[in-house]
């Protein structure tokens, strides 16, 4: 890409958010509403609310714990989901047995399990991580099963005839072949994970972004509460961006095939 094209692309990405922010800024400027303060006020208190206080700043005491719980839960769900998905996807018998049950688990809205998990696992970090695992697991697991099932039979025959078996087969064939579906599962799970991170902190917690937002709301610190929402939004955008970078690397071959087919007709 030329410099001009890059600048243009950057402008396209930023244009709509800039317009929306400007609209928010202007329309909220004279706001008298208690719950919808002017954006000017929200932005004014944002640095003090999150970054002041050095090691005690909320960015350290609340954002980091939230992020740690999210990544732990998400990581566990990814390992368990992909691992179990490989097993289930490779075995028609196992699949026939467990798939109906999995569909039911997937249909349960994860936030509904928060009260149960609070009771069972206590209100510490373990509970919050478990809630995240429980929510993230299903999209990853079910998509992995689909991906593993869809391995091309010609490629499978190729592996067999060259004696490519066992872990080498999983690494060179099954995981790579299923990677588009696995990435789809991971992407769905990431947004579920962020939602659950916030909700689990709202129920019972002593720190975290969700906890902070609820605290501000209960103490009628409305502009500060809005800064929490903005921080959450920025966190979500950042994580989605990191995910896209990783995905583009992992699925470079897949995008390549798709564009080759598009141009080749």
């Amino acid at each position: 890409m030329s410099v001009g094209a890059r600048l243009r692309r950057a402008a396209e990405v930023v244009a709509l958010p800039a317009v929306l922010l400007a609209a928010w800024w202007v329309t909220s400027d004279g706001s008298e509403s208690f719950y919808f303060p002017p954006l000017r006020e929200v932005v004014a208190v944002l640095p003090d609310t999150w970054f002041a206080g050095g090691a005690d700043a909320r960015i350290v005491s609340d954002v980091l714990p939230s992020l740690a719980r999210l990544l732990t839960g998400y990581g566990l769900a990814a390992v368990v989901g992909v691992g179990a998905g490989l097993l289930i996807g490779s075995s028609p018998v196992l699949r026939a047995l467990v798939e109906p049950v999995l569909e039911v688990f997937r249909a349960v809205p994860p936030p509904a399990t928060v009260p149960l998990l609070v009771a069972v696992a206590g209100i510490d970090d373990l509970m919050k991580v478990l809630v995240i695992v429980f929510g993230c697991l299903w999209p990853i697991l079910l998509n992995t099963v689909e991906g593993v099932r869809a391995v091309d039979p010609v490629l499978a025959d190729t592996c067999r005839s060259y004696g490519i078996r066992g872990p080498g087969r999983v690494r060179s064939l099954v995981l790579r072949s299923a990677s588009p579906q696995i990435m789809t599962g991971l992407r769905q799970a990431l947004s579920v994970g962020i939602i659950l991170m916030v909700i689990s902190e709202m129920f019972a917690a002593s720190n975290g972004i969700g906890f902070t937002v609820v605290q501000f709301q209960r103490t009628f610190a409305v502009p500060q509460m809005w800064t929490g929402i903005i921080v959450l939004g920025l966190l979500g955008v950042t994580l989605a961006w990191v995910f896209r970078v990783v995905e583009a690397r992992v699925l470079r071959w897949y995008e390549g095939i798709r564009s080759a087919h598009r141009s080749g007709g």
Binding site: L155, D157, T158, R160, S161, Y162, G163, W253, Y254, G256
Partner: protein
């Protein structure tokens, strides 16, 4: 080297059975290049899968290097018809060729030597880092052939490898197979539905009947060893052999389409 005795394959589903192969017996001697030709739908791919140990026969036996086949034999390489689906799209050309060698337990230097050599042999020395989907169909099939060559097989099976490429590419690939066989002397069984191709490539042609399939004929190709797309195909002997195989396949199809069966 490769012996097939009384091979039979019946597919059974819930409400019907299909006899794909009835009774196939032939053999390929070490260093031979044999073409297997048959009308479409005669179970060529089924036969090849049985030979490759990818499919268990209902009856009879396949022996490779004296050992009965009940799984893919270690000294065999297969080139599939669907080149686009038999190469790993997430690997480069060189990685595709190298992968079986890793599992064979070759060291890094040895793998490098074999990969470079095989790619040069098929005329792809300049594209080791391309991905298969960046190449034309003919080039993709060259990669699959290079992968088979680098594996240093004792027997090479090719399942209609050129069925999906254009005529010019096909002629080039046919000559490539002849050249490689001439140089390496690897035992090769080449399955095709194209009679001209079978006669042009083979030292022997095994003719299959329509399904349920038996061996209809097994004839040596007494053409000069040096083949040429123009000269060889213009030889009276080429035309004779071609007509003979063509006649047999037509007879087989007529026999199969009679209401009382074969």
């Amino acid at each position: 080297m490769l012996e097939v005795r009384g091979l039979r394959k019946v597919y059974t589903s819930q409400d019907r059975t299909v006899e794909a192969l009835r009774d196939i017996t032939f053999s390929v001697a070490a260093g031979e290049l044999v073409c297997l030709v048959g009308p479409s739908g005669c179970g060529k791919t089924t036969l090849l899968k049985c030979l490759a140990g990818l499919l268990g026969p209902t009856g009879g036996e396949v022996r490779v290097e004296g050992r009965s086949v009940n799984g893919p034999p270690p000294g065999m390489a297969v080139v599939f018809q669907e080149y686009g689906r038999s190469l790993f799209p997430w690997m480069t050309v060189a990685q595709n060729v190298e992968l079986p060698l890793r599992h064979k337990g070759h060291g890094r230097a040895e793998r490098r030597r074999l990969v470079t050599g095989a790619l040069a042999d098929v005329g792809l020395a300049h594209t080791p880092d391309a991905y298969p989907w960046q190449l034309s169909g003919g080039m993709q099939q060259r990669v699959a052939i290079a992968r088979a060559l680098a594996y240093e097989p004792h027997v090479m099976l090719m399942d209609e490898p050129f069925a999906a490429v254009d005529a010019q590419t096909r002629a080039d690939l046919e000559d490539l197979i002849r050249t490689l066989w001439d140089r390496t002397g690897v035992t090769t069984l080449f399955v095709t539905h194209d009679i001209d191709e079978a006669v042009y490539l083979g030292e022997r042609v095994v003719v299959l009947s329509s399904s349920p399939t038996v061996v209809q004929d097994d004839l040596p190709v007494d053409l000069p060893r040096e083949r040429d797309q123009l000269d060889t195909r213009a030889m009276p002997r080429f035309t004779e052999l071609r007509s003979r195989v063509y006649g047999e396949i037509r007879a087989a199809q007529r026999a199969a389409s009679r209401p009382d069966g074969a």
